[in-house]
Amino acid sequence: MKPAAFAYHRPESRAQALALLAEHGDEAKIISGGQSLVPAMNFRLARPPILIDINAIPGMDDIREEGGTLVIGARCRHAHFEKPVSSAPIGLLLSRVAANIAHTPIRSRGSFGGSLSHADPASEWCCVARGLEAELVAESTTGRRTIPAAAFFQTIFTTALRPDELLTEIRLPLFGPGWHCGFAEYARRAGDFALAMAVVACRVEGGVIREARVGLGGIASTPVTSPEAVAVLLGQAPSPALFLAAGQAGADATSPDGDIHASGEYRQDLVRAMIRRALTQAFA
């Protein structure tokens, strides 16, 4: 379990990194936290001839608020979110989510942008990005573009990023007053990739839900949204019965993949439970 040989670059600026990417394209891989890439290399499932390490580039782990948006630098470590990064509802939500990602050592290296670029369908950050309709900023020597999460995740381990592009920022709504956010997942052991997860955000006005977002992870080749669950929620007053109904609608509309840990049928049960629990948490 030793990686195949590779060349290693450690650029000290974003421009240098982009130039290296432009030069090597397909041959090169970015290494951020290394928590997915290095295991894959050790198993020799990934054999990138060139690694471009972005850890020496200043500013890639900044976090700031811009209007109603939280802007997360791609190299922000998971552990950074364990305490809320914002006083808006998104801050608390992200801290609840972060607690579910892997274990302390992995959280202190693994990065938000690394998770999105890796696009594991059971990644919590991917589920959050998709469910809460994040925008992702990619840069290359030819320019900068913003990709909506819906277009970013293409299939398992595959994103809309071009080989010469670096993911630099993730933009999430802060969610202002009236918004309630929640997250729930089920994993076999503490820190394992979840078998299913749900993220929800609802805006309540006049006692009824006016806007809702529901994202699901771990059940298909990409994270998905659940318009069916949203449809059940809209216009209704939050209640345990409503949460269960939303969960049921969400579960009925999915036909999850099965694997050795969870059959499709079992995952459907989990989807129902996780939507219900995420909603319960949001309104607790």
């Binding site: 020799r44 052991r189 503490a190 078998l195 840990h261 059959s263 049960d269």
Partner: protein, 776 residues
Amino acid sequence: MDAPLTWIGRNIPRLEDPALVRGEGRFVADIAVGSRAVVFLRSPVAAGVIKAIEKPELPPGALIITGEDVATLKPIVPRLARFNYVPIEQPILPRTRVHYVGQPVAAIVAATQREAEDIADQIFLDIEPEEAVVDLDLAAAPGAPIVHPMAPTNTIVEGRIRTPGLEAAFAGATVVELDIRSRRQNASPMETRGGHAAYDRASGRVSLHASVQMPHMLRTGITDCIGMPEADLRVVAPDVGGGFGQKMSLFPEYVLLVWLARRYRSTFAWIEDRRENLIASAHSRDQHHKVRAAFDDQGVMRGLDVEILANIGAFSCYPTTCGVEPLMALAEYAGPYKVAEYGAHARGITTNTAVMAPYRGVSRPVISFALERLMEVAAKRLGLDPIELRRRNLVTQFPHRTPTNMMLDEASYLETMEKAVEVAGLPAFRAEQAAAHAQGRYLGIGFSVINERTGYGTPAFAARSMEITPGYERVEICMTPSGEVEARIGASPHGQGLRTALAQIIAEETGVDVARIRIIHGDTDRTPYGWGTFASRSLVISGGASKLAAAKLAVKLKRAAAVLLQGEESQVRLEGGMALLPGGASISLDAIARTVYHSAGPISEKIGYDLNEAATYDPEGTFSNACHVAVVEVDTETGGTKILRYIVVEDAGRLINPMIVDGQVQGGVAQGIGNALLEEIIYDADGNILTGSFADFIPPTMAEIPPIEVHHLATLTGASVLEAKGVGEGGAIAAPAAVINAICDALEPFGIQLFDMPATPQRVRAAIRTAEETSP
């Protein structure tokens, strides 16, 4: 006057630990640093014919060794004399066929592991796949693909027993039938396998340092395969990071390392990685039992009839043979229960999967799962409380002869259970359970009563008809001229703190402080022939031999002291490093030692010229016992189980070091919890293994293991010279049944009974879903 008990029964901090916690332990991988690396290319297919192994061009110094290169090596063929046994042969490297995914096909040598893996990448392995048989029941069914032509029904070992009154016992009785499934496990020692073979050009000898449990046996096995003098091989087990049985067996990799060292007069090292360990080391407990039990109207079990199938994998493990699982199940099925009439039919079935070998508890976690599920299900059928049903069936008169002729020595099956019921606060729990249920929460409690056959010597293994009959242990003890005690033992600890426990035993006999006692182990050049560590034997047998040898040394010391102090030998007391006479005369043991070696004079007439003694111990065996209680909450939405409380009431007789005993119990329970809830090696139908990392084969972590309360009873047995019983496996044996019984108790409102382990969330949820769908 007897010496007061000073050393036995004390929680002496483990003598092993300072080095380990400082990171100064010496494991094989520490010794291997800088050596040429060996990497094994392993079969990617479960069954097939080797057509070609195309080798790439090699860098200088690199080697590729295939079956053709080692055609002179004899295969590994353990034998069983009685029973129906087919002696299948495991090649060191195959020349014609592969039999499981992970079987070593070639050895690659290079300067580093990475370079060897680079070469392995470039080897083109042309294997024509054949139909594989993987599933235990399919392999046992008529018409299944045949794994070894010598065994046309895939049955490698078969045993039967039937008492004459079995049929009659079932007539008119309440008959309870269970179908018990146990899924495949991996022992997952923290340190994987590994070896370092160094050739000594001057002597022509090879030293193999390897992470193993049976160094002497391994030496015999390797030299038999190579056809070399046993004296030309030294095997050393340095610090070993756990084994749990997985490191008992002889593996082809070790034979090949020694062969390489001799053939190339050089040094080679192989350190197994985790993926290899999960795929290609040894598995266990892929079993299917059909159980029938007959109860009379008083709830007394009159008859027990079991059909046992065990998946033994592609080959038979050496030295225990693949009989180890099915024949143990056949011999020990009744556990702590009385059963007058007994029948068992046990078969070991070969498949295209990794080799089965012993794992902590061997078949007993499955047996106890079956028996303890039986008690619950039968109680329900009979309208009795399951604790009451156990009361009526536990053995309470000792010694007790089992239907398979085992002698159960004095134990406390009933007492441990009663104590466990009391500690658990059963009535209070029932109230708490009802209150929780009213809120839609599902709590449950589960009991499991076990006995654990420990410390058994050659008679027990002879009964199994193994060609190789392990069991005795020898200890050679010596006081040095400066007064330290060295004990050379044939046993070989793999992390359980044996050095500390043996030092306490020797200290007790000789009055020498444990800090001045050195236990020398695991080195065939420095220790007497012995059987290493397995089967909860080391403390009872090697500890027993230590006591006997130390007692002889004590006699010598007293005799010498009597001469030097001009007193009566019978009045000499050894304590605190001194020999003391009642009148106050005393001499230090150090001074005695100096005198014996350097100024022997008149002492030599009494004791000779040295302070060496030795003893061998070969007991029949003694049964420890325990009752475990698990309290769980089942999440009915996810099928997940959380263990809220775990209680063990253990009876291991006299405890030498209670802290070490508790550690054994707790570690065993942790593995048992993994067995009950999490761990399962999974193959697809073609024999590809789907659980090749700890992301898929999932042992419990700290978060899944609750605090484990351990309580002790102490039945002192004459079956062990220390009055101590073994405790190595009990935790792992009892825990699965306790946990799964607790889950079934929690799910009582759904009427759910589980017979398949592990009780994964997926399986539990499926049972709940079925119950929800069938009852409106």
